[in-house]
């Protein structure tokens, strides 16, 4: 929690920022949830709704940017306050990206006819659940400021990467089985990639929160667990 300032309007302004971030976060969580639900159930109506909702996040980000700049100009913040404000700008940018990724998943619903094997959709759903859990936990930490709980973010990131690699492989298999699968499976591949990126943005937000609260950068990251750059299926790579 921020300390109390002599000028209470200043407190109000800082509180406004964090409240607006939380509202944006909630909105982004909802969008991703609905985009994945629309994809799994091939629900075009819901997909349209998600696409239209994205504008709320764009506005949110602009508003936070404006407000943050005004606060910096007017109050000349120092230390925690300055980190809080700069952090808000960064987090809102990450959340806005999450919304874009959700919107992109929703856009692809039209290209997927739902005749693909059930296990694919279940896999994407499970991947989305991992990414959303991560986002939710990170935003919860933003609310509670308990940065000591932030270590889980990286564990989850590993799980997301493993799941994404597994899905990637499965999608390649279906494409090889039947060329007619290529169009929908490519779209599903992008959906999976988008969802995986949401996890990365959640990690970014976690790092920003860590910085806001402690003033230090989060310790250096371990090597990435995304191994799709090495996935090849037998018989698809020409022998050297």
């Amino acid at each position: 929690m921020q300390s109390v300032h002599t000028v209470s309007a200043y407190d109000e302004e800082l509180k406004f920022l964090s409240k607006r971030i939380a509202a944006m976060g909630g909105h982004a969580e909802r969008m991703v949830e609905q985009a994945v639900a629309a994809l799994v159930n091939v629900d075009h109506g819901l997909a349209q709704k998600v696409i239209q909702d994205d504008i709320v996040l764009d506005e949110g980000q602009r508003e936070i940017d404006d407000k943050a700049i005004i606060i910096i100009a007017r109050r000349q913040p120092m230390a925690t306050d300055l980190r809080e404000i700069v952090g808000a700008i960064r987090i809102s940018a990450d959340i806005e990206r999450v919304g874009d990724l959700g919107k992109n998943v929703a856009k692809r619903v039209a290209s997927v006819d739902g005749r693909q094997p059930n296990s694919l959709f279940r896999g994407i759903e499970a991947l989305a659940n991992l990414a959303l859990t991560q986002l939710k936990e990170v935003l919860d930490v933003y609310a509670s400021r308990s940065v000591e709980r932030i270590g889980f973010v990286r564990d989850r990131d590993d799980q997301i990467d493993a799941m994404y690699t597994s899905l990637f492989r499965e999608l390649l298999t279906y494409m090889m089985e039947d060329p007619r699968n290529i169009t929908p499976c490519t779209h599903l591949l992008f959906c999976a990639k988008n969802i995986e990126r949401i996890g990365d943005h959640a990690t970014n937000i976690a790092e920003t929160i860590y910085y806001i609260v402690t003033g230090d950068q989060m310790p250096a990251e371990r090597p990435k667990g995304d191994k799709t750059d090495k996935v090849v299926l037998p018989g698809t790579v020409p022998a050297k």
Binding site: M1, Q2, V4, D11, K15, S18, K19, I21, A22, A23, G25, G26, H27, E29, R30, E33, S119, R122, G123, A126, N129, L132, T133, K136, L139, D140, Y142, A143, S144, S146, E148, R149, G151, Q159, A162, M163, T165, S166, R169
Partner: protein, 421 residues
Amino acid sequence: MAETGAGQDSRGQALAARLRRNRWLLAAAFVAVIAVYSFDGASIYVLLPALALLAAAAMVPADAERRSTDTGAAIEASGLQRLSGEYLAAAVADPLIIFDHSAAMVHANAAAFAAFGGLAPGMSLALKFRAPEMQALLDGILSGEVAADVVDYTEKLPVERTYRVSASTVGHATGLYVLVFKDQSETRRIDRMRADFIANASHELRTPLASIAGFIETLRGPARNDPAARDQFLQIMQNQTGRMARLIDDLLSLSRLEMKPYLRPGTAVDLRQTIDSVIDSLGPLASENGIIIERDFIDGPVSVPGDRDELFQVFENLLENACKYGQSGGRVTVSIARVEDGQDPGIDVTIRDYGPGIAEEHIPRITERFYRVDVENSRTQKGTGLGLSIVKHILSRHNARLSIKSEVGKGAAFTVHLPAR
């Protein structure tokens, strides 16, 4: 803000403090009057302010008293006035959160702490409940546009829960508001479960049914007079019906778990005794597969909060898998260890086999329903494809984690981390 949150204590205390302050003021005034009289002959101009001070000091407590009688008059007769809001909140079984005009939490009852992790007095509810409908609810109430409102709020993760949330102002001008969460998850889930059950079960039941139907046809036709073939076919049919029965059992226990994914803190379970009886019950299967079960337990009592039957099922499923799929390793190790350090102290139970292991790409997905690493092997081992799914559900009810480590050719280790709390 924590500071303002703490300041919202009971009105009684504030009143008492004010009276105490005014007592000194009154005493000072009294001394002043005495002094004025004792100096005898002091001018009226000194006396007048002293009298005014006395009147003002007397006014303050009277004012506060009048206000408290206004709000309290209606309930005073029933003795409700002395009732503390804290006790009242504790007596409500549903999660209940009291907050102030800045949406900062003032008080939450035990049910709310159990339902929503990470609550703390002073924390902003607008940051905690981020769903758009909750934001609208809080905004509506705090702006004073509405005195009370109700919305449906769904939390998707970690387990899906649906609440009907009602928000209302508390009393007149107390500056406090209350949120009450009514859990609607079960009704919602029963509807969903019915659809899911049909989709999953019909697919899985169709395969054995088709095979039984095929054999019946053969028995009535070409194999009518072939006793050897008849026996063989009847055996296969018996196996298939057995598989269907197992599948239905598993589906039912999974549905039961999904109906109630959120477990209230249970009684203490003796893990050592539970795991011992799991090992005993699987003794025959292990010796049939030529597996030796090794134990590596820590000393002393090991107990965790939870439901014994459910934890029994977890370890039974894991050990059964280890015996079935790790057959080539010849042994399975069951170990119990205590984890003291880290952010999450508790008990780790590891079931390790030395069989063929699980390829990396399958690990993240083997807890999905009907996901099988090797369909043929699973069928011959009488697997239903639901065992690990059940494990995962039970563990998430216990706030526990399942982690799987495996290297192809070296076996697999399933570790269950049960929090000690």
